[in-house]
């Protein structure tokens, strides 16, 4: 599919996602549907979906031990091994996985191909390229902090760590934002970082021709969805404020399983909530499952110990082989002639033939 079509399709899909609650709540006042039923359904889809997918993966066995070794193996005591990138046991794997999941270690290795021709002779270099790694880290961690900050809407009293996080996150921009003093709250750093990172991830998909070539609508769609989620959230906070007390009433109701859909929250909130619902309901069916999948990746979560600890393939089955006996039967005479030891001496029949 052409990338323009992919992008248009994704934008169209996200527009529909925005219009549904706008009409649903704004015009039809379906507060219970959009404030209670859909959020519950989305959450159920999210959790059940992830569990089903993970179980689905787990049901396929790991027949062979195939870690990608990224450092020196465990060998002689006088050779320094790399216990993290080439783990020999469980602890090495645990550290490798922690670094992979929390610091995106493999992505950190990224380089960029620099291909030039000088007088027709190729010259290849591998340049520094950490932007993808930086953007990925900023995106995921900002998202995580924003998620944690939202706990102030679900919990009463608000846990201390949430308040602390909120203060830290808001501190950097306090008083520095251009609109300060106009009755607007301080800007959260993570809001800015998230939007910047997502925008960059989107732009590189469009402007880097290699990435553009491989991108599918399902790559653009979540990016647009998250952009819409962030934008609606920020609009609520900075420009078109909604009634936070009532939002909190709804949120706490949802989490205490005694849901209420109070009047007069403002349609923007429902749009924000609906985008979130779509995102989490879409999650188990999409590439976003990399969140869970990375933990199961056999090239990362296995130790390189198959030479000293036997790995068993649960579906191993006997195969037909060419046995030594068959081999010797075919070549016995040649072997004897060449002085190569054999199991059986030449058949008498062959001898008679020779005599003749």
């Amino acid at each position: 599919m052409n990338f323009v079509l992919s992008i248009l399709f994704s934008i169209f899909a996200v527009t529909v996602v925005i219009l549904i609650p706008w009409i649903g709540v704004g015009a039809l006042d379906l507060r219970v549907l959009f404030g209670i039923v859909i959020p519950y359904a989305a959450m159920a889809t999210f959790f059940v979906g992830i569990v089903v997918r993970v179980i689905g993966w787990s049901r396929s066995p790991v027949p062979f031990r195939i870690p990608t070794t990224a450092g020196q193996e465990w060998s002689f005591p006088w050779i320094k091994s790399n216990p993290i990138d080439n783990p020999k046991g469980t602890w090495g794997v645990v550290v490798r996985m922690i670094l992979e999941v929390l610091t995106f270690r493999s992505l950190f290795r990224n380089t960029r191909l620099e291909y030039r021709r000088i007088d027709g002779v190729p010259k290849i270099d591998y340049e520094w390229e950490k932007w993808l790694w930086i953007a990925a880290l900023l995106f995921h961690y900002s998202f995580f902090v924003i998620f944690l900050r939202h706990f102030r809407f679900f919990t009463e009293p608000v846990p201390a760590f949430v308040t602390l996080l909120q203060n830290l996150d808001g501190f950097m921009q306090m008083g520095a934002a251009p609109f300060n003093g106009f009755g607007l709250p301080g800007v959260y750093l993570t809001d800015m970082l998230l939007m910047a990172a997502v925008t960059w991830l989107l732009l590189r998909r469009i402007f880097y021709s290699q990435i553009r070539y491989v991108s599918l609508p399902s790559d653009y769609f979540p990016l647009f969805l998250i952009l819409a989620l962030g934008t609606s959230g920020m609009l609520m906070r900075y420009l078109l404020r909604v009634d936070v007390t009532k939002v909190k009433e709804l949120a706490i109701g949802l989490f205490k399983f005694s849901p209420v859909a109070p009047e007069g929250i403002g349609v923007l909130f429902y749009i924000h909530l609906f985008i979130l619902c779509v995102l989490i309901a879409y999650f188990p069916f999409s590439k976003l499952m990399h969140l869970a999948g990375v933990f199961l990746s056999p090239t990362r979560n296995l130790s390189n110990n198959s030479r000293f600890v036997r790995h068993v393939n649960p579906w191993n089955y006997p195969v037909k082989t060419h046995t030594y006996e068959e081999y010797e039967d075919e070549f016995r005479e040649h072997m004897i002639e060449a002085g190569i030891p054999v199991e059986k001496q030449a058949e008498p029949k062959a001898e008679t033939e020779e005599k003749e």
Binding site: V4, R65, S75, L113, I124, R212, D219, M289, V319, I340
Partner: protein, 544 residues
């Protein structure tokens, strides 16, 4: 056979697909001569009982597929999803971040966007989505899904046999998605309907019958070793006979058959022979085998099952001969199979003992259950324990660099051992740039059964990143010898060097070991194992 373009032509590579392409799914793969290998001959498939043997040519429109090919492939696909977590997971979790895109030597050398690892996998993923995901079934192309058609199958074949399973992409993937795994299983699928290449099918059939890829029969194998014995005698004045198929030896030695077949692998083979003879007095009791006369495994480029079938000879022969453990020669994919598959395939070898070096008493704890030791670690241990008298100055005419073979690097982590040995047997060693060695090493461009003749253009393209790194040290330090521990490397790198970096030769590590090895009672060395005069040594000859 297609004419291979000149290097300056080949070097015109565009890595940037134009913006307004139709999208890759709508573009039929164009099969270019010089890129693909010829189709498998029916007799080679028949010999090992593989399905649908037939005469066909990739350039033909009709690939003579069985009537129910689609059903077979789709059934095979499903079966593998259920058997391999790797496959299932790698079909699902790619986010197409593109980190792998410019890491593949075939993409770097060809600029063909379908050689980006992510896209190679997408060729299969698109069909997976169509058949196995809800979104794919409903949304079709909008969910990146497409129907399996004959064109798609041809595209698979074309691109799955343009991957050398080197795993460089998997190193950079944030989720460890391994294109080798996808290629291996994808090739299994093509094999289900009789699509293979003869360069893989013929060695497989040979190996099944004669014990080695090259089809060398036992008496011929002995002839070759005898020939090397004569050569060695010419150089050293010592006759270094080897044992074949000897029962009751302590150790069985298995090496790729390429080592006995063609230069410069043969010099490495002579190196092994000299090392074994050297150690004989110190108590080495070793035999070669004509039945297990292949370390490599082209079955691994066919299917897991065929890999297992061919690999079975190693333990079977060890058992028949009654040895205690197995020593393996210098080879790349051989060691990936030995390290990551052999015990699982054909173990446990409980009739063998935990390997101990008879010379140094060192226990090879890292080979405890597989009972197979790499000759380079064996030699490294000898050197560490001062068991070898070495004169590295005999390699002074060489300026050496080391090419990490993909499989020992990324499928084992065998990085320091060869370097330790090389540094002890030669005085001039220079590393290539860090992004091109060790775990980040670049493939020779001809692994995984692609070392044929008809696809030379592809091989030269795929080897470009490696050659470029050699060129760098050639120009900077005057490097004239590229060392490696892989038989395919030894077979293909000379071509690659000639094409991109003339003036650099290729050697195995044990060739250099044997050059440096000082024997009691040998005649003064005036030649290296290649029969070339050693600079500086000829003066001594005059003195004598």
């Amino acid at each position: 056979m297609a004419d291979t373009p000149k290097p300056a032509e080949t070097a015109k590579i565009d890595h940037y697909p134009s913006p307004f392409e139709k999208g890759w799914m709508n573009k039929r793969a164009e099969l270019k001569p010089g890129v693909y290998c010829y189709a498998s001959k029916p007799k080679n498939l028949e010999y090992v009982g593989m399905p649908f043997p037939k005469e066909w040519h990739p350039a033909d429109e009709d690939w003579k597929l069985p009537e129910n090919w689609k059903e077979i492939v789709e059934e095979g696909f499903k079966d593998r999803l259920d058997k391999y977590r790797s496959f299932k997971l790698f079909m699902d979790i790619c986010v197409r971040c593109g980190a792998c895109a410019d890491k593949c030597h075939f993409f770097i050398g060809s600029g063909d966007p379908k050689n980006m690892p992510v896209l190679r996998a997408e060729l299969l993923r698109s069909v997976y989505r169509k058949n196995h995901t809800l979104a794919g079934k409903i949304l079709g192309p909008f969910a990146g899904a497409r129907e399996l058609t004959e064109d798609v199958l041809k595209e698979w074949w074309y691109y799955l046999y343009q991957c050398t399973e080197c795993r460089r992409c998997s190193l950079f993937c944030p989720y460890g998605i391994d294109t080798a795994e996808i290629t291996i299983l994808g090739r299994e699928l093509t094999n289900l309907v009789g699509l293979n290449t003869d360069w893989i099918a013929a060695p497989v059939a040979n190996c099944y019958r004669t014990g080695n890829h090259l089809g060398i029969q036992p008496h011929a194998y002995k002839d070759m070793l005898d020939f090397f014995t004569d050569e060695i005698e010419d150089i050293t004045g010592i006759r270094m006979e080897q044992d074949l198929n000897r029962k009751g030896a302590e150790i069985l030695f298995i090496t790729p058959s390429g080592d006995v077949f063609a230069d410069p692998g043969t010099f490495t083979c002579m190196g092994y022979m000299m090392l074994f003879h050297y150690l004989k007095e110190q108590g080495l009791d070793i035999t070669w085998s004509t039945y297990a006369s292949e370390g490599g495994n082209f079955g691994y480029f066919t299917s897991h099952e065929m890999a297992k079938r061919l690999n079975a000879k190693m333990y079977a022969e060890a058992k028949r001969l009654g040895v205690k453990w197995i020593l393996g020669g210098e080879c790349g994919h051989m060691w990936r199979v030995l390290n990551q598959y052999m015990d699982t395939f054909n173990g446990p070898p409980d009739f063998l003992e935990e390997p101990v070096s008879p010379i140094t008493g060192t226990k090879f704890k890292n080979a405890k259950t597989t009972k197979m030791v790499h000759i380079v670690e064996f030699t490294a241990d000898l050197i560490k324990n001062n068991k070898l008298k070495l004169d590295p100055s005999r390699n002074d005419h060489l300026k050496v660099t080391f090419h990490d073979s993909c499989n020992p690097a990324r499928g084992m982590g065998f990085l320091e051992e060869p370097r330790y040995v090389i540094k002890n047997v030669c005085n001039n060693f220079y590393e290539m740039p860090l992004e091109t060695i060790r775990e980040q090493t670049f493939c020779c461009g001809s692994g995984a059964g692609l070392n044929a003749g008809e696809n030379l253009e592809l091989r030269m393209r795929g080897g470009l990143p490696r050659a470029n790194a050699v060129k760098h040290v050639h120009e900077k330090y005057g490097v004239n010898m590229l060392s490696c521990i892989c038989a395919i490397d030894r077979a293909v790198l000379p071509n690659l060097m000639e094409y991109w970096v003339p003036g650099v030769e290729v050697t195995g590590v044990h060739e250099m070991v044997a050059n440096a090895l000082v024997f009691d009672g040998e005649k003064k060395r005036t030649m290296d194992l290649r029969g070339e005069t050693l600079p500086g040594m000829e003066e001594d000859e005059e003195d004598v």
